[in-house]
């Protein structure tokens, strides 16, 4: 049986995954991909995130030439990486670079769930670390938008060792007297939460974002006794783990205020 929506071209309309309202795609962009009916914050690609975050035309990618690596020779992994690259037009699961936000020179990292679940292997850890090092060298505040399923299983212990590396890099940024703002977006899990995500000088989460120490697949396959509401931004906020729980519409202004505060009098 034909549904009334069958004749609607899919590129003009997008369905809200939360309330199933059909939303006009053109308006969705100006609403920052937040459902006008229920307020659900849709997941963004890094390109969409860039567009609504930095001053227009100021982003320059860094470390975009890092090669794909498969340190363990893990079965079927390299084809998966190649496929992810083709799908996302990203060199790995995080995009890093320099930009201006509200006029301030910043270092920026944006993670994308579409690249193998936004998981962290050697390349992601290396890009985050190099971003922090660049921020130290060029005296830039760092902002990281997290979105990740956790550490990348296919790199096993090599992936685990990206946690201390990135945590250490964040520590060095702080000791260099530079601020680090971590923005947790839907979803942020596992090895990323237990390294740079929860080490921000200021930690911001988008409303409704899922997050937690145990990755969702691990919770699922180990039949862990964990109420779904525990793994949310709201739970973390209520327990004092997050400074601010915000709607996407207010995020850019908030970042601008914070950068103004950190950078006032610092040239």
């Amino acid at each position: 049986m034909a549904s009334p929506n069958d004749d609607i071209p899919p590129d003009l309309w997008e369905e809200c995954k939360s309330c199933h309202q059909l939303l006009y795609a053109k308006e969705l962009a100006s609403e920052l991909w937040v459902c006008s009916k229920c307020g659900h914050h849709m997941r963004l690609s890094v390109w969409q995130r860039l567009e609504i975050t930095v001053d227009p035309g100021t982003f320059t990618e860094t470390e975009g030439d890092l090669p794909l690596v498969d340190p363990l020779g893990f079965p079927d992994y390299m084809p998966k990486l190649v496929q992810a690259r083709a799908k996302t037009h990203m060199n790995e699961a995080v995009l890093t670079g320099t930009a201006r936000l509200h006029g301030h020179r910043i270092g920026l990292a944006l993670m994308d769930l579409a690249f193998i679940g936004g998981s962290m292997g050697w390349v992601v850890g290396e890009k985050i670390t190099r971003l922090m090092e660049r921020c130290i060298a060029e005296r830039r505040p760092a902002i990281v938008f997290c979105a990740s399923g956790g550490a990348r299983m296919q790199e096993s212990l090599v992936a685990l060792m990206q946690m201390p590396k990135t945590a250490g890099a964040v520590g060095r940024l702080g000791r260099a007297g530079l601020p680090y703002i971590s923005v947790l977006t839907d979803p942020t899990y596992g090895g990323v939460t237990a390294s740079y995500a929860f080490l921000g000088d200021v930690i911001i989460a988008e409303k409704g974002a899922a997050m937690g120490f145990a990755g969702p697949r691990v919770v699922e396959v180990t039949k862990m006794n964990l109420r779904p509401e525990v793994q949310t931004a709201e739970f973390q906020y209520r327990h004092g783990m997050i400074d601010l729980l915000v709607e996407r519409a207010h995020l850019r202004e908030l970042l601008a205020d914070l950068l103004d505060w950190f950078q006032a009098g610092k040239g």
Partner: protein
């Protein structure tokens, strides 16, 4: 849990080959119910051990041991996850899965040791950190993340040894060290083989294959350049002879301490950072 099979003799050994074992068998050995745990080693090799308790914020955590003692008259601090032997002890020790207060207690004692210039030994044996609601509500992610960041700032020698299970974030939360060793029958990885198999192939009976491809044994980690050495165990595994296992562990700890003891704190911290900074970089 299936009973571990004893390692099999597979013919004449080539040099170093006696430390290479079947990965799934190794996982079983690492979890062997009679395997020595942190306190079994502490009681054999650390003199006049004084256990310290509590994170000064919320509470204590039986899954994490922290204390002060002497190794051959050298004052040291010891940190390590602790599993229980009986059913009641296992619950009390939360199966070696430390909570935020365990990681914060560990950090408190490590920083105390650093203030007095005492080397730190961490013994890793955990299936993973506790990730249930209580731990989430007290910031398990932040606790583990902060430990890793702060361990780079300890101006004293830090030596880590995986003595059983090196389970993911729970392990690395006390694992940022100048020297990292694994005992012969231990594993170290980002996810349990069972969960890896269930996620990758939707089939937890493929655990054996997952253990293989994840390269989680001591010999794998050594070959990948992720650890500094493998500590041999008595024939048949550490559970066959606690005394000898403890002696072999102590021997390596003393060797490492001797290598590190004259290096100034600033230099140690810089070397520790360089070690992790360059770890596993593709050549």
């Amino acid at each position: 849990m299936p009973e571990a099979r004893e390692p099999q003799d597979t013919g004449p050994p080539s040099p170093g080959a006696h430390l290479i074992h079947d990965p799934w068998e190794t996982v079983q050995m690492a979890r062997h119910p009679r395997r020595p745990y942190t306190l079994d080693y502490v009681n054999r090799i650390v003199e006049r051990f004084t256990e310290l308790q509590g994170d000064r914020r919320y509470g204590d955590d039986g899954a994490m041991i922290a204390g002060l003692g002497f190794l051959e008259e050298q004052p040291i601090a010891v940190i390590g996850q602790q599993k229980g032997r009986t059913a009641a002890e296992r619950r009390e020790r939360n199966f070696g899965m430390a909570r935020p207060e365990g990681y914060r207690k560990a950090m408190r004692v490590m920083q105390l040791a650093a203030r007095f210039g005492r080397p730190i030994i961490t013994l890793i044996d955990t299936p993973g950190a506790d990730c249930l609601e209580d731990s989430e509500s007290r910031g398990i992610s932040e606790a583990i993340a902060a430990n890793q960041r702060e361990m780079f700032g300890l101006p004293v020698p830090v030596i880590s040894v995986v003595i059983g299970e090196g389970g993911s974030g729970g392990a690395i939360g006390i694992g940022v060290a100048d020297r990292i060793y694994m005992q012969e029958y231990t594993y170290y990885g980002v996810i349990m083989p069972e969960a890896c198999a269930a996620i990758l192939w939707r089939d937890s009976s493929q655990s054996q294959r997952a253990a293989q491809v994840m390269q989680i044994t001591a010999s794998d980690a050594a070959r990948l350049g992720l650890i500094d050495g493998i500590i041999p165990e008595p024939p048949g595994g550490a559970h066959k002879d606690y005394e000898q296992a403890a002696l072999l562990l102590k021997e390596q700890l003393l060797k490492a301490l001797a290598e590190l003891k004259d290096i100034p704190g600033e230099r140690l911290m810089e070397m520790r950072w360089e070690k992790f900074r360059k770890m596993a970089a593709p050549s």
